[in-house]
């Protein structure tokens, strides 16, 4: 696979503040890559440096093999979809889209035909003569996409593309953008703080933490095998328990968490640190009923409260060590038909060894 964008030890400092710290990243041609992280983690700065709106303090940026580190945006074969869409308010939708073509020397009917085709692609044919202020938020977003796509760039940069939309529309646009990516075959590089967005849309996700890459992998990798507690905490929800190794062997590690012995599939934590804590996803534990066969690990505890979420029921359980853990269960039969334990009831939680995540000591 060929890398379309290569970042070579990119850093960005704002005075004494380090925004991005020695990031190396290769974006493969045709993939949908997402930079994920909380605000201030450097993801947007990284995207803006690739777009040419900020100049890195150190390092090299190559697009399609050519060094563009110091090149202005107009000399880069990438197009950005801005968070606020940045549609030109004084131009019609059509003029907004042909703007980028005219700068390339494509004018008149040729430009118009391409713009019409781009509008059709995003499902807005017939909107050519409208003005941006006459469109809904979702339509503006599509126009912004059409404006970026029509120039046939090597990469489309998406800066928090869905953050201005309401929840329902956002969900719909996630799938739509993903389909658009598959249809066009252009590389998409997106920035978001929304983990669901990242998991749903991307081929590959790069989680960033304080200007550095925390983990780089497929959505499954990040969710099922988070490398650090930071990633486990940022993507999905995780119960963390402090633990220490008692014995190792035969692919299983025996741990002691509180006064409880637990068996976990043996994987070395990233960086080869000694195991200091474990993580268990709430939906990967179950509340055992008497009739069920016992899994390898059983944690006794007491229900603190139950939280009804419609789709699922979240139960807060205080285990024998005194730590509280969350357990999520799908309500397949609905709440009304469930004989679920109530606050104060004693319960036993079951968890399989391969569902226990092992981490180093620090959190």
């Amino acid at each position: 696979m060929a890398a379309i964008i290569e970042l070579d030890s990119i850093s960005k400092h704002y005075g004494p503040v380090v925004g991005v710290n020695h990031v190396d990243l290769a974006v493969e041609d045709g993939e949908f890559l997402t930079l994920l992280g909380p605000s201030g983690c450097g993801k947007s700065t990284l995207l803006r440096m690739i777009g040419g709106f900020e100049v890195p303090t150190a390092g090299t940026i190559r697009i399609a093999g050519a060094d563009v580190t110091a090149a202005p945006p107009q000399q880069r074969d990438v197009n950005m979809m801005f968070q606020d869409y940045a549609l030109f308010p004084h131009m019609t939708v059509g003029k907004n889209i042909t703007y980028g073509l005219e700068r390339k020397g494509i004018k008149g009917t040729a430009a118009r035909d391409k713009a019409e085709a781009a509008l059709e692609l995003v499902g807005l044919s017939g909107m050519f003569e409208r003005h941006p202020h006459q469109l809904s938020g979702g339509q503006r977003q599509r126009v912004a996409l059409a404006r970026a796509v029509v120039r046939e760039p090597k990469v489309i940069l998406l800066d928090e593309p869905l953050s201005a939309l309401d929840a329902k529309l956002r969900e719909q646009m996630q799938v739509e953008l993903k389909h658009m990516h598959e249809k066009l075959g252009i590389t998409f590089l997106m920035v978001t703080h929304d983990q669901t967005e990242a998991l749903v849309m991307s081929d590959r996700v790069v989680v960033m933490e304080a200007g550095e890459i925390a983990q780089d992998g497929t959505p499954e990798d990040l969710y099922e095998r988070p490398a650090t507690p930071y990633v486990a905490n940022f993507i999905g929800t995780t119960n963390f328990l402090s633990a220490r190794v008692v014995a190792r062997g035969a692919g299983l590690v025996t741990l002691e968490a509180g006064n409880q012995k637990l068996k976990a599939t043996d994987v070395m934590p990233l960086g080869g640190q000694a195991i200091g804590q474990i993580g268990i996803r709430p939906e990967k534990m179950q509340i055992l009923k008497d009739t069920e066969c016992r899994p390898a690990n059983v944690l006794p505890g007491t229900v603190v409260e139950t939280i009804y979420q419609g789709l699922a029921l979240r139960t807060v359980v205080r285990i024998s060590s005194g730590e509280e853990v969350l357990v999520d269960e799908m309500l397949r039969q609905g709440m009304l038909h469930s004989d679920h334990p109530r606050a104060g009831d004693p319960v036993a939680l079951g968890v399989e060894p391969h569902n226990i995540l092992l981490f180093g000591a620090e959190r």
Binding site: G51, G52, F53, P72, P73, Q74, V78, N79, M80, F82, Q83, D84, A86, L87, F88, P89, H90, Y99, G100, R103, K104, H131, H133, Q134, R147, R151
Partner: protein, 279 residues
Amino acid sequence: MADIALTRSKPRKPPLSIPKGAADGAFITYASLLLAFLYMPVAILIIFSFNDSRVLAWPLSGFTLDWYRTLFANADLLEAVGNSFYVATLSTALALCIGIPAAMALHRFAFPGKALFRRLLLLPIALPGIVTGISMLNFFNLMGFNLNLHTVVLGHATALLAVVVIQVFARLQRLPRSLEEASSDLGANALATFWYVTLPNIKTAIVGSGLLVFVLSFDEIPVTFFLTGRDNTLPMYIYSTMRRGVTPEINAVGTLLILFSVVLILLAAFLTRAPGRKR
């Protein structure tokens, strides 16, 4: 935080017990009186410009266009009008040519001494015209310039530069930075971005401030008084003839100027209209 605290601690107004109709009536009366106070003198000026008596007193004695005829036969007055247009046009052009780039520099770049630069740009509008006039007169004398309409233009443009800078800068601040970024992202160089994206979005501020500078320059007296040589502008001419009392001829000039202002306002509205877009 401070804002939230303020709005929270604000006591609620007690409900007004005055009936809504009476309140509306009082408000409309008040507004009408205010507008009458503003526009009555203008109306009187226009009416007397068509009155066929030299004396400005009621009752009106009859309709005439004589004052307009004498006006167009008065070479001094016509020359003063011509001079005023000349000065106002050049002052406006000069203030715009310096003011727009200055506003853009203030908006776009961080440079040492920026705060000082901004204050210096905005200072002349706060200075009394007399101070600007005297200091420029001294300066031109020192430099050995001859006083003429061009020195007046320099004086006006200096004093009124701030009008352009303030308005254009305020508009630039409201323009999202992402628009210019999107333009360069779509392949436009700096010049194309300015021409196709920035300029259309600050156009109304430019036209608006340009009109204001034009009008302010047109009826400016203090700076003009010090900086003009033998040439008279219209306000100076009117001021000098006023010693002999207001003549109906002056009323006629005033009426024509009002007509011109209306044309100017319509022109501005036409120039700044954005198709399908309300501002």
